[in-house]
């Protein structure tokens, strides 16, 4: 018996399954955070409370759009890598990585800006706002590290092990980007 290669395998590899189950657990983290947001919102009027500025709308939505577009780049990289085109995959990953890093840098700038305007330890709005948004930024940060990691690995060519890694990382990004839409909509919802 020889080892079946990626192309011959008829079902998803165990690495993909590991990531899928992990992501399901992470979804519960954000489920709990979002439930908390609305739980506290129902009990507090006005929301956000007096003295706290209403969240901006246009900039976060635009940034989220940019981040979500990297899902396409990641998927393209995966498809090309599966067919053996390593340079195409690396190029798509590089574009995705650039956009992801830009997104994170700008978001961290706005995060610090928000911190200077209202404090997480003054109201429950501030507490859940910064915890929810911060948790998402942390997930983007982990994703950036993973993209950079797989890009470095692919510099030395494609192996079936790296393909499994790339497919797991791509799925992680689809999850983080779907969350980005939900978290951003919740974040800006008081201004809508």
């Amino acid at each position: 018996m020889s080892t079946a290669s990626y192309a011959q395998r008829i079902s998803r590899p165990i690495g993909w399954w590991g990531m899928a189950v992990f992501v399901a657990g992470e979804a519960m983290v954000f489920g709990a955070l979002l439930v908390t947001y609305f739980h506290l919102r129902i009990r507090n009027n006005p929301w956000p409370p007096h003295g706290v500025p209403e969240p901006k709308v246009a900039v976060p939505l635009f940034l989220t759009g940019v981040l979500v577009s990297t899902s396409g780049a990641m998927q393209y990289a995966l498809v090309r890598a599966r067919r053996g085109f390593a340079s195409d995959a690396r190029f798509a990953l590089l574009i995705a990585l650039t956009l992801q890093v830009t997104y994170l840098a700008l978001q961290l700038h706005f995060f610090v800006d928000d911190l200077s305007k209202f404090s997480p330890s003054a109201t429950s709005y501030g507490s859940i706002y910064f915890t929810l948004v911060g948790a998402h930024h942390a997930h983007v940060f982990v994703g950036v590290v993973l993209t950079a990691w797989i890009l470095l690995r692919l510099v030395r060519g494609i192996t079936s092990y790296r393909l499994v890694g790339l497919s797991a990382i791509t799925w992680y990004w689809h999850f983080v980007n779907a969350l980005a839409i939900i978290v951003t909509l919740v974040q800006v919802s008081p201004s809508l």
Partner: protein
Amino acid sequence: MLIRTQLAGANGKVLGPDAYNQAMTMHGVTMIFFFIVPIGIGAFGNYLIPLMIGARDMAFPRMNALSYWIFLASGLFLYSSVFLGKAPNCGWFCYTPLNTRQFDPGLNVDFYALGLIFNGISSTAGAINLIVTVFKLRAPGMSLNRMPLFAYAILAVSFSLVFALPVLTVDLLFLELQRKAGFHFFDVAHGGDPLLWQHLFWFFGHPEVYIIILPAMGIATSIIPTFAKRKMIAFPLVALAELLVAFIGFGVWAHHMFATGIATAQLIFFAGASMMVVIPSTIQIFAWLFTVNLGKPDFRAPLLFIGGFIALFVIGGLSGIMFAAIPFDQATTDSYFVVAHFHFIIFGAAVFPLLGGMYYWFPKVTGRMYHEGWAKASFWVTFVGTMLTFFPMHIVGLLGMTRRIYTYAPGLGWEAYNLAETIGSFLLTVGLLMVFGNLLWSRFRGVPSGPDPFYGGTLEWATTSPPPHYNFAVIPIVRSPYPNWDREDREDDVRRFERGQLVLESGHETPASTVRDGVLDEVLEMPSESGWPILLAFALSIVFIMLLTTHYVIAGIFIAISALILAAWHLKEPAEE
């Protein structure tokens, strides 16, 4: 034991109130997070699942090692609090506002919160590993409908862990942010809500109860067919019932909160959902009883323990149904009646099958038989001890004794019952010592058991006892839910072994199959043993110690070191063909 000694008579002086609170909290936390879950899932699940599904190892062997080391580290982390005199003292569910800095300024609660987050990483890693193992590493031919019922139970447990633990982690994170950084999640003065803690805690806490009980149900469904000498009746229904128990477990959390003033519509929903749990539980109970009834039962020690389990589970279950009735629950909340109920479930129903399972798989693990006479005697002592310890708790509960009191005044009519409970707990200890004494003695002096002393139906009995580190010399091919009873298939295995088919003797290989039908899909080269997991667990321990002592910069540095360790871990790739 200390707790029971304290309560043996009125106005006990053995423990002061603070020490009692710490002892009680550590009892709850230890038993739930560091005893039953790791024994049921970690020990039984990790050891038996690969054997039962005909795999050579878990899907991610190194993550398995990581899970173990983190578990050990988180245990040491939490227990160090005992030696510092700062053990958690807020009860295992640690309700706010008692857990806030204002009322509990020491490190006690921080040990609790960080220790459980740390422990949660280990449990999550273990659960992911088990799910993927059960999905992907089953022997060729083992489609989902031929999977052992124990594997269904472990699958249900693992999914419960993956979906429930993150919610606890978030809740504990809120708590730490509130305690250390002055955030406001649970205090009304700044727009928080104390009930939020309870909602999130019990959203985790009730599935946790089923996480505790499901491995026990899985063990029962393994032991019963072997000793009744027939297949489990209603096999698919029992499998579905195991999954359904875990699923409904997510819809009943607020039944722990009937007395907190939540809306009536919520009360009725959760009461209804709680009643619903009866259905899958009853399906299983009747399936077990009828399997024994229709077979030719041989009441050896493992089956005796399962009999005890069913009896205790029915008693605990009946008092459970009483709580689903809202008025009754409101009258008995926080009384010893509740203590009686959950000890029947968590001790009686969850630990008895674990003890039965220890006897049952002892020959498989060690290759030697336990002593049958002592095993039967140990069952009766343990059973009587359990009844004597926990049954009077119903009565004192109805007489008005509240839980978590460290002493009480004489003349309330509670002394005799409490004395009986204390005597019972000593009897119970004797019973447990008999079990472990028997196993220890048999480990060295027991008669050799051979590969299959009970003529069991699942694959773990198809290999030698103790199993070699590769589990199976030849990968078995499966055509029924009880493959070890298919003599021809096992003889086929021997012939394939001689022909060298599916032997996979080169390196550390195991086959992977498709999720639903169990069709052989590929052969995986498993990673070799590695030192990285223990290093990672060590780095993470330092992170948690630094978080505890509020050295956030050092904690950050060690998070970065952990990431580097992870990178180094994955640097070496399996060789390409």
